[in-house]
Symmetry: C2
Subunit: 221 residues, 2 copies
DNA sequence: TCCTGAAGTCAACAAGTGTTGGCCTACACT
DNA sequence: AGTGTAGGCCAACACTTGTTGACTTCAGGA
């Protein structure tokens, strides 16, 4: 029996999201996605052109972050941790970003864009100084993505065994301090400049993709 | 001119490490590795049998963690953060574990084993209670791997722009509290089981990795 | 009724993958 | 010098990948 184009397209998209989430970019094949959607692989091409564009269509997300200004200032950490936990379990969005972003540059760019566009502005509203916001956003992302990585992707047994509430209890103070805590002094007894000009590894990094695009710069200025 | 078997094997291993580190498991092809090592692909098979065994040989690491008992108790956080930063830059070890562990189950297992065998014991020595150690190890791993992910893999601009010292300054208090801080109470107004579950880091996990129909298994609860 | 166009299938392509086996060839021995 | 062998190369295999184009089938308007 026959489906409308819209329905088929949606089925393909749903199958693609699941595959990208569990397999990553390269192992998620068009053929597997098509099979999941009960369709011929050529239909995927007809509707989305090629694999890259299919991914782009499948990886358009809203982090759906809460309005932290409606939260008491001393509870924004808890609120954000709790939100990320539920957000992770709501659908495949974050899982896709993480699994594909690690090995595919276009996907990494997408991850950067999502966090830049949705997390950074939220934090600017929270902290006064717009210069500090990107750094604080990156710190928050590092802890939240790191926990997601350990718990849902790498599946470290103790991380999996923790209850949601335990995770919230442990991570909230961390996130709270990244959001609203004082900026710490870089350690005095170290050798190097604290200038933000040069990042380690940037030069050494052998990019198999072009790394020229900075369209997703988390910085605001 | 000709090389000894040992030299060639080492060259292959070095090339493999670099490829696995930058490309991940599936995109790091035997052919590319062989080309990097100036050798025919068939030699890789001769020396290592197959790709899985090559990876196993290439991903045997020592995290080389410092003896935290020789560090003042209030500085173990700083010491560990600093160590991970230098460790990351020392060679491809952590990059390999991260890049491959996300999409390849065998690699994920390797990552688990490395952290279980090397990080957990260290922490047991530090905190009295061996029941709490795995959880604390997972928390430390989540923050350290998360920062590595944002800085070196996903390359969030603000994370890349931070100096080593800034990273140390921000992350040290977090790690310190995960290591030696009081265990927080899980939030009272939630429904969780109060018995703090902790699985040892060494627990085995069944991992149906590839079947898309099981993506929900990757979620907790 | 026929006709048109959209939905869907089928078979094949070129390229790339891990892997295999046969064949060279330099060189350390006798 | 002759030779055995370890180090190395080549060509091919069976398979999978993204992608293409020609073909079929159906629904509905004229």
């Amino acid at each position: 029996m026959r489906r409308s184009a819209e329905v088929t397209k949606a089925a393909i998209l749903a199958a693609a999201r699941e595959r990208f989430a569990t397999d990553g970019y390269e192992k998620a094949t068009i053929r597997a996605i098509a099979t999941d959607a009960n369709i011929d692989p050529s239909m995927v091409m007809r509707y989305f052109g090629n694999k890259d564009r299919l991914f782009a269509a499948a990886a358009e997300f809203d982090l759906d972050l809460p309005d932290l200004n409606a939260t008491p200032r001393d509870q924004v950490g808890t609120a954000l941790v709790r939100h990320f936990l539920t957000r992770w379990q709501a659908d495949d969005a974050l899982q896709i970003l993480l699994r594909t972003g690690v090995t595919n540059e276009a996907a990494a760019e997408r991850t950067r864009v999502v966090f830049a566009a949705q997390l950074a502005p939220l934090i600017i509203h929270l902290v006064g100084d717009p210069d500090q916001a990107p750094t604080r956003a990156a710190l928050v992302a590092s802890q939240m993505l790191g926990m997601a990585l350990c718990r849902y992707i790498l599946r470290f047994p103790p991380a999996v065994a923790m209850s949601d509430d335990e995770v919230i209890a442990w991570l909230s103070p961390t996130i709270q301090s990244y959001l609203t805590g004082e900026r710490p002094d870089p350690h005095p007894l170290s050798r190097t400049s604290s200038g933000t000009s040069n990042a380690p590894f940037t030069a050494e990094y052998r990019a198999p993709f072009n790394s020229a695009s900075h369209s997703s710069d988390l910085r605001i200025r």
